[in-house]
Structure formats: structure tokens, C-alpha cells
């Protein structure tokens, strides 16, 4: 990629801070195990996501999909194994030739490359829409108020909510709130966007608006997406890869065409016939 195209990309509303869309490995899970009490949610899981790819995780509830996103966002820590993001360990640091649990500062640096949109939106109800979006760019990335606002306005346009900048989240519909949450995550210019069942809490008639925005982002930007969803049509539409989870393991992966039309595993077939 030439320096020129790098520059023009940086000015776009949604571009990773460090666009490396050469298909290199961006996320790597290495023998990651996560238990809650006696329940093993992830069982020595290995998987990788290449830069720029859109990967959808499907599978029955409780199969560990959301846990993967929460591990990447450091909302929970793995019991065993390592996670790498863009070549850096997420929850570990290399010191003296060995791996030690990472300090807060290290985690913070690596985590900046990741953004997340939650099922319940989790907007800050005490802040107007504009400040929801500018809060982190100002206080984490060190942008000036003007820069952050300009960035927020671009993003509000992208999600079609320009005229709602001065409202409080509670004055918006669920679909609008979720679109603000998408803008808020993108304002940090993450390399990876994690989408955790982002339409599950929405009234059915509001789902399409949110999915349209995400489709738009998936098709017009090079951001890497990792998505847990029950919207199979959406998954088919945006995904490069679909991973089928069951009992803490990936039992099958492939292109959406393959997984949705001719899956290898009986378990996948059962699951899809239940949800489609």
C-alpha cells in the first residue's frame, strides 16, 4: 500500500489507525480455556482472524461465542492460553524471555485496537449523544474537542443520526441508540470491531436500520469485524468466514455459502435448521 493511499484512508471516517489490510493475522487465540466455576465455556480454543476479514460466530447459546468477544475486550480474562492482537499479547507481556500477566498499561495499549458494540448498547445515559462519541477520543486518544466533534459528526452522518447529536440516549429509539453505540466504537478508529448480538435487544422493526449501517461499514471500509449474531441473513451477507461453535470448540468453519448450504457437520445442520 502506497503512502498516498494510506493518507487518504486516514482521513476517512472509519479507518483503522494502522491500516494493515494485507490479510495478515490480526487475532490469534492459542489454546484458550475459560471456565466459569465448573463449567468450561471455552476448551483449549485455537483460532485466528485475518486483518480486514468479517467473521461471524454462530452456534447455540452457551457455546462460548460471546465469551470470545469478552476475552478480546478484556472484560474477562482467560484461565489458560494466550490471545494475540496484531502481533502483541493481549493479557500477557513478554518479560525476561517468559510470559507474565500483563500490566494495566500494556492491556490498555493493545485494547485500543479493539472496539465493541454491546447487545444492550450501554450508552452513557448522563451524556448527550455527541459527548458519548467524543468522550473517549478526547480523554483516551488526546484529540482536541473540535477534532473529536468533527469526527463524531462524520460518524453520525454515517449512521444517519446527524440531527440527534444534542439528545440524550433515552430520547432515542433502541435502534437509534445502537447506531450511536456503533458510532461511539468507531470514533476510536479500532482495527477490529466486535459486535455482540447487536440486534437482539431491538424491536423487530428497528433491526433493519442497524443491520443496514453495519452492512454499509462492512462493505465500504477495511475494518475487521468479529460478530456474534442470530441474524443468519446478515451473517451470510457480510461474512467472509463463518465459525460454528459447539461446547466451547469450533466444530466447523468456512465461507457462508458452504456453512449455510452444505455444512459438513450434523450438529451445524441441526443448529441451522432450528434458527433459519
Amino acid at each position: 500500500m502506497s503512502a498516498d493511499s494510506n493518507l487518504s484512508k486516514e482521513s476517512a471516517a472509519v479507518t483503522a489507525a494502522n491500516p494493515a489490510v494485507d490479510g495478515s493475522e490480526l487475532i490469534r487465540f492459542d489454546k484458550v480455556t475459560k471456565r466459569f466455576g465448573s463449567n468450561t465455556v471455552l476448551d483449549s480454543l485455537d483460532f485466528t482472524v485475518s486483518s480486514g476479514k468479517h467473521v461471524t460466530l454462530i452456534g447455540p447459546s452457551g457455546s462460548g461465542k460471546t465469551t470470545i468477544l469478552r476475552l478480546l475486550m478484556t472484560l474477562t480474562r482467560p484461565d489458560e492460553g494466550t490471545i494475540k492482537v496484531d502481533g502483541d499479547y493481549l493479557t500477557h507481556e513478554e518479560r525476561g524471555g517468559g510470559l507474565v500477566p500483563a500490566g494495566e498499561k500494556h492491556v490498555r495499549e493493545v485494547r485500543k485496537k479493539i472496539g465493541m458494540v454491546f447487545q444492550q448498547f450501554n450508552l452513557f445515559p448522563n451524556m448527550k449523544v455527541m459527548r458519548n462519541i467524543t468522550e473517549a477520543p478526547v480523554h483516551v486518544l488526546g484529540l482536541s474537542a473540535d477534532e473529536a466533534e468533527a469526527r463524531a459528526r462524520e460518524l453520525l452522518e454515517l449512521v444517519g443520526l446527524t440531527e440527534h447529536a444534542d439528545k440524550y440516549p433515552t430520547q432515542l429509539s433502541g435502534g437509534q441508540q445502537q447506531r450511536v453505540a456503533i458510532a461511539r466504537a468507531l470514533a476510536m478508529r479500532p482495527q477490529v470491531l466486535l459486535l455482540d448480538e447487536v440486534t437482539s435487544a431491538l424491536d423487530p422493526e428497528l433491526v433493519a436500520g442497524v443491520l443496514d449501517v453495519l452492512r454499509d461499514i462492512a462493505h465500504t471500509t477495511d475494518i475487521t469485524m468479529l460478530c456474534v449474531t442470530h441474524e443468519m441473513n446478515f451473517a451470510r451477507d457480510i461474512s467472509d468466514d463463518v465459525l460454528m461453535f459447539d461446547a466451547g470448540r469450533v466444530i466447523e468453519s468456512g465461507s457462508p455459502e458452504k456453512i449455510f448450504s452444505e455444512p459438513d457437520h450434523e450438529r451445524t445442520r441441526q443448529f441451522l435448521s432450528a434458527v433459519l
Binding site: M73, T74, L75, R108, R111, N126, H139, A185
Partner: protein, 216 residues
Amino acid sequence: MTWDWNAVGDFMPMFWHGLLVTLEALALGALLAFTLGLVWAVLQRSEHAVVRWPVTAVTEFVRNTPLLVQLFFLFYVLPEWGLTLSALSTGVIGLGLHYSTYTAEVYRAGIDGVPAGQWEAATALSLPRPRTWFAVILPQAIRRVAPALGNYVVAMLKDTPMIFVIGVLEMLGEARQYSAQTFHTVEPITIVGIAFILISYPASLLLRVLERRLVR
């Protein structure tokens, strides 16, 4: 027993002075209780046990000993250790410290009431800890508990006469002094009682309105 209106008129200048001192002690004491209580509440959420437990020890100790004893302690023992404060300052510190252990519990309830998703969103955005507290968590927590905090101001108002025992001439102190000088007791004490209800009852009503507005 007779009621002497002249004594009432006589007492009023002292009463106004006492009222000012009462309100001053209340305002400063409340400020201290709100601030210190917040500090306790936030420290008690620390991930380090070495921070949590001394705070728990101090707050439990203060909450479970009488204010009166604490006032005497501050007034008579601190000077022995070389820390001499005016009676009013000592009273303010006593009231503020004592009530901070109650407001800490109120804040704690408010903080616990903020959904986990708010912390998670702050983490996902990498907001620094102090920013998460001051911009995200506390504004939501305090909004919820503002009426409960207000209730403690009313309670504190009714405890201000206690600082009279260390020599602060607040309303009750002035009344006692007036009666010592003139042997009129009923009039000044009655006026002080009426003053308390004239302040605290409207304050309680105001808090109820506030509660309806803020706590949804």
C-alpha cells in the same frame, strides 16, 4: 410556668446568631460528609485489600460509636496530641466524619446500582479509571441517591445541638446561655424547637419532590 413575651424579644438577637452558627455547622459538616463519604465509597471498591480494609475498619468504627463520644474525643484528646482547633471546627469535623460513614453507604448503594454494562462500555473505550468514575459512574450513582443524601442532611441538622457540649454556641447553646443569664427557659427552648421544625419539615418535603424528579 408563665410565658413572657419580653423574654422572647430579648432572646431573638442571640437566636439569630445561634441560627447562623447552626446553619454554618450544617453546611460545612454536610460538605465534609458528602466529600469524605464519596472517598470512602470509592476506596471500598478498590481492587487492593490493603486499601479496602483500613477504610472498612475506620468507617465501621466511626459508625458504631456515638457522635457525642466522638465530639468529646476530638475536643479533649486532639489538643493533647498538639492539634488545637476551634470548637466550631471540631464540631464540623465531628459531624462531617460521623455522617460520612452513612453517606458512604448511600454512595455505595448508588454505585452498585449502576449497571455492569456501564463499566464494560468504559473498559471497551479504554477510559482511564478516574475518568470512568467521574464522568460515567458517579454522575449516574449520585443522581439516584441524591434524595437519600438529602435525608442525612436533615438528620444532621437535628444532631447539630450536640456540638453545644463542646462549647459551640449554636441555637441550643444560645438558648441555654440565655436561660442561665435570665432564668427564662421555656421561651428560648420553645423558639429553638420551632426553628428546627420550620427548617427540617419543608426540607423533607423538598426532598420528596426531588426524589420524584430524580429517581425514575
